[in-house]
Point group: C2
Chain length 199, copies 2
DNA sequence: ATGGGAACGTACCGAAGGGTAACCGGCGCG
DNA sequence: CGCGCCGGTTACCCTTCGGTACGTTCCCAT
């Protein structure tokens, strides 16, 4: 008979196990019973800690998002020039992906983007990343184009990560980060302003 | 009383309308009744043309995927050197996004990535895109790194598109394509091989 | 005109799953 | 010793939704 846990401990354990379950099966693919079973308890226990399935899932998104954001913020804070900011930012990102496969799949691979509520939560994260990237684009183009390119770079990292995580094999995040950062940095400096309608 | 349609015509109309419905609500968010109602018929009619909800959805993915692939293939076929291939490829991609918002959302935004079956279908598309991009990476690095970077570039276009489609406003695909292609091309040429473990 | 087949609607089934009411049992406290 | 608190379970409800059996209307061909 598994030992009883205190309420806060149980809550943490549920979050842990739910992350894995949802990452594997997706929000719709996993039932509350699945989560409960994986946690070694029964359904009503989940509802003592979370108001609803959506509530639980959103808590996970929030938590994982914070982990990601913290890592990147901490890393880029140490850099002064744009180039090393790019490097360190991507490095932090890929390191996070490398040791939080489940978190990555939860945010970017489990249909979180479909549901309006969840999509908002995920969007906040990508939006913030983009906002951090946008100033690195030196060329003189519209603000909206600059933001679009920033989002493109967020997608750059996401695309690479999806592939890497999808393969299931281990990978060296620093090596990938170096290449991707090089691509991004050189790419950013190559963008040229379009023909302006005269002002 | 709406006129009766011939079987092939009805099938096409269902596909049309289902694309819109699924793009808006996602696979799980839209019921067969929703689709039927939007098509102006009742549920059993859907099942006269498609074996199951999954079957219908998969047909949509297939169709949209083919449209995308054809556009890109046709565009890149006209190019000789890598640089213009890059340009024309991205241009075809963004043009497709610009006038098939629903298709884009279906493939890349409606949780198609979550379900194993659908994920395979979508993956085939990105995989092909990546395979087309990979040869453009000139630098001498591992095949696996090369493919990872190729997938990153697929994500680049996806990230930009997600933003553009999400904003809902119109945009000039050629202008975006020019910038993104410039970024990608210059970026690709800037990637350097890592320190080799000696051979 | 009259059969027949194709398109379509009505009404239903059954399973899955989110959520809840009520009960249970062990540990700590007076 | 007993009593109450709290983590936990059992058993259930109810809605949603994928899928289907069967009846009905309309058009076309002989």
């Amino acid at each position: 008979m598994p030992p009883r846990l205190s309420a806060p401990a149980r809550r943490e354990q549920i979050l842990d196990v739910a992350l894995e379950v949802f990452a594997n099966a997706g929000f719709h693919g996993a039932s509350m019973n699945d989560v409960a079973e994986a946690a070694g308890v029964t359904k009503p226990v989940l509802y003592q800690h979370f108001d609803s399935k959506r509530d639980l899932f959103q808590a996970l998104i929030e938590e994982v998002g914070n982990r990601l954001r913290n890592n990147i913020d901490k890393a880029t804070a140490e850099a002064t020039d744009g180039k090393s900011q790019t490097e360190l930012g991507f490095r932090a990102y890929f390191r996070w992906v490398a040791d939080d496969h489940d978190g990555f799949r939860l945010l970017f691979g489990s249909g979180s983007r479909r549901d309006d509520d969840f999509n908002d939560a995920v969007r906040k994260i990508t939006e913030q990343s983009a906002k951090a990237i946008a100033p690195l684009i030196a060329v003189d183009i519209d603000e909206s184009h600059r933001e679009t390119l920033a989002h493109a770079l967020v997608g750059l990292a996401e695309g690479a990560s999806r592939r890497l995580v999808g393969l299931g094999k281990e990978f060296d995040p620093d090596e990938i980060a170096r290449e991707v950062a090089a691509l991004a940095w050189a790419g950013l400096r190559a963008v040229t302003p379009g023909a302006r309608h005269q002002t």
